[in-house]
């Protein structure tokens, strides 16, 4: 089932006293539920802009962008925010945990924008999620008291707590050492597999990119398939942490 569909997507920005700058050009991409996609590219290649589009934070200048079979342009601003909150989970390179809030409060944050059970039972749901990523014993810890790996695990718990169907990981191991990075990616893959969510990882690191089943490269705004070692319909391989 196709979750994201991009066809001929371009994104240009208007500059003062200069011709428009094309950041993305003719991007075609289909992402289905359960996909593992990695996107590599140099700085300035348009990764952030693509991430904005995939995360429903921006509109393409031209082309088609559909989420769950619906053109994103047809969403109102509030509807887009709600879909993003419900169906998209972000994981950032710098973790972006909210300072001054405990691990539990951080994981509860996305649930503040939910309704019904998810909102009223947010403490219980967040506790279970932290337990699932192995941090059930650090509920009251502040971010500055957690190690880098623990912080990223909190961030993973936070991104998954509302059960998104799409996880966007922007350099998820960029601030971690190799071993911790592998641990975090193994956890991310495990949790994503458990929830059936699609995982799109944007990274500089070829080793992290290699963990995905579909490999894409973004170069000067053009997205190309570099390798697809695993057929889309084939079962996903299991990722395990590599001991040092």
């Amino acid at each position: 089932m196709t979750l994201l569909h991009l066809a001929g997507v371009t994104r240009t920005v208007q500059l003062v006293d200069a011709p428009p700058l094309t950041i993305l050009s003719g991007v075609d991409l289909d992402v289905a539920v359960g996909d593992r996609v990695s996107i590599v590219g140099r700085s300035g290649s348009g990764k952030s802009t693509l991430l904005n589009l995939l995360g429903l934070l921006d509109n393409p200048t031209t082309g088609v962008l559909e989420f769950d079979g619906r053109p994103v342009k047809s969403f109102s601003s509030a509807e887009r925010d709600r879909v993003r909150g419900r169906d998209v989970g972000f994981i950032f390179q710098q973790f972006n945990l909210l300072q001054g809030r405990t691990a539990l409060e951080n994981v509860m944050t996305p649930l503040l924008y939910a309704q019904g059970k998810q909102f009223w039972q947010r403490a219980r749901i967040a506790t279970e999620m932290l337990d699932r990523v192995g941090l059930g014993h650090r509920l009251g810890a502040m971010p500055d008291k957690l190690s880098g790996g623990e912080q990223q695990r909190v961030a993973i718990a936070r991104s998954l707590v509302r059960g998104p169907r799409l996880i966007l990981a922007d350099e998820p191991t960029g601030a971690l050492d190799l071993e911790t990075g592998a641990d975090v990616m193994a956890l991310l893959d495990e949790v994503a597999t458990g929830s059936g969510a699609a995982l799109i990882t944007i990274t500089h690191d070829p080793a992290i990119a290699a963990l995905a089943s579909r490999h894409l490269r973004l170069d000067h705004g053009v997205l190309t398939v570099t390798d697809s070692s695993v057929e889309p319909d084939a079962p996903q391989h299991q990722l395990v942490a590599v001991p040092a």
Partner: protein
Amino acid sequence: MNRLLSNVVGSFVEAWQELRIHKTRVMLSLIGVAVAVCAITTVVGLGAVAQQSIVEQNERSGGRSATLSLYVSTSDGSAVDADAMQDFWSTSLDRYGIDYASRVLYSTQTVQFTDGAVPVQVIGVDQPYGTMHRVTMSEGAWFTAGDAERLAPAVLINEIFYDRLGRPDLATHPTTTLLGGTPTTAVITGVYPVNTWETEPGMYLLMDTLTALTTPEQLASGGSIPNYELWVPPAISDDLTAALQRDAVGALGEGTQASASRQDYAAYAEDPFASIKLLVAGVAGLVLLLGALGLVNIALVTLKQRIREIGVRRSFGATAGRVFFSVMMESIVATVVAGVVGVIGAVLIVTNPTVQGFIGQGMVTDFPPFPVEAALLGLACATGVGALAGLLPALVAVRVKVIDAIRY
């Protein structure tokens, strides 16, 4: 409904978290608001005390609102028949159910001091006059109903008179000799204060006492015609004015001229306190403006530090409206708390006896309770300042580009 409820509750939770986490910054920024609200509420509260002081000063001279003054004379200048006038006066008070009324006569009586006989200004009044004109006593008490029965009449003297007597203890029932048509010994039962500009001794006597002391020559010259004062509800004052004039002419016969009018401060068409209110409002507004500017300043500076957090929240589904509402709520919740603190401070200041004494300058007998409108004004100002101070940062917050904010 469920979405609305969870949105509102969620916004409060976010606002409270924000306040809790940044309590030092919040405390510092709110001190300015609390002080401003305290100042504006205090100024309004003390303004009420100052206004009451002026009201009471006015009421001491012109009487309380509404005090009617009735003066009766004859067209040929002859003396008004005192008995007929007294009958008319008593009948009128009964007819209209007036409880507070007094005859008032300004006269002079010679008083024997140790250094000689001195003419002293005397005001002849009836017992209700003290209440009608808020007469305060520095020692002793105003006339009582029983004073009319005294064999030796009661006299109330001013501080200058009292000084000239050597300030005897009133418990010893000091007396003074009034050298009228018939020299009379009067008992001093009270002493009233004087204004700073007064230099001469003065005294109050009950009207009947003064009449008894009046010489036949004074009676014949018409010098003993009193003014008649009535303290009535303002709503009926106009009708009663016309009725008294009509009744007086009817009761005293042709050739009688009766003039009745309001003499209290509230009879003036213009608000006598408009200038004071304007001044108070101006000062209070300026204080509040300074507090609000400080809050906006701090809110904008700290917002820059929160750009990333707002970006993160937006990425997790916070709508622009929700971010706007949350930032506004933080500001409003905080300033309302500061407003409550400020109002409590103002109540403590305004109801402090030392402060009241300083503002009232000893001229206020009925200190007004802390004005509720001042407290409401303070809270309204706090909420308004919070909304205004939150508006600018909230507008900035919703314009944040999410990915740029996250990478800020």
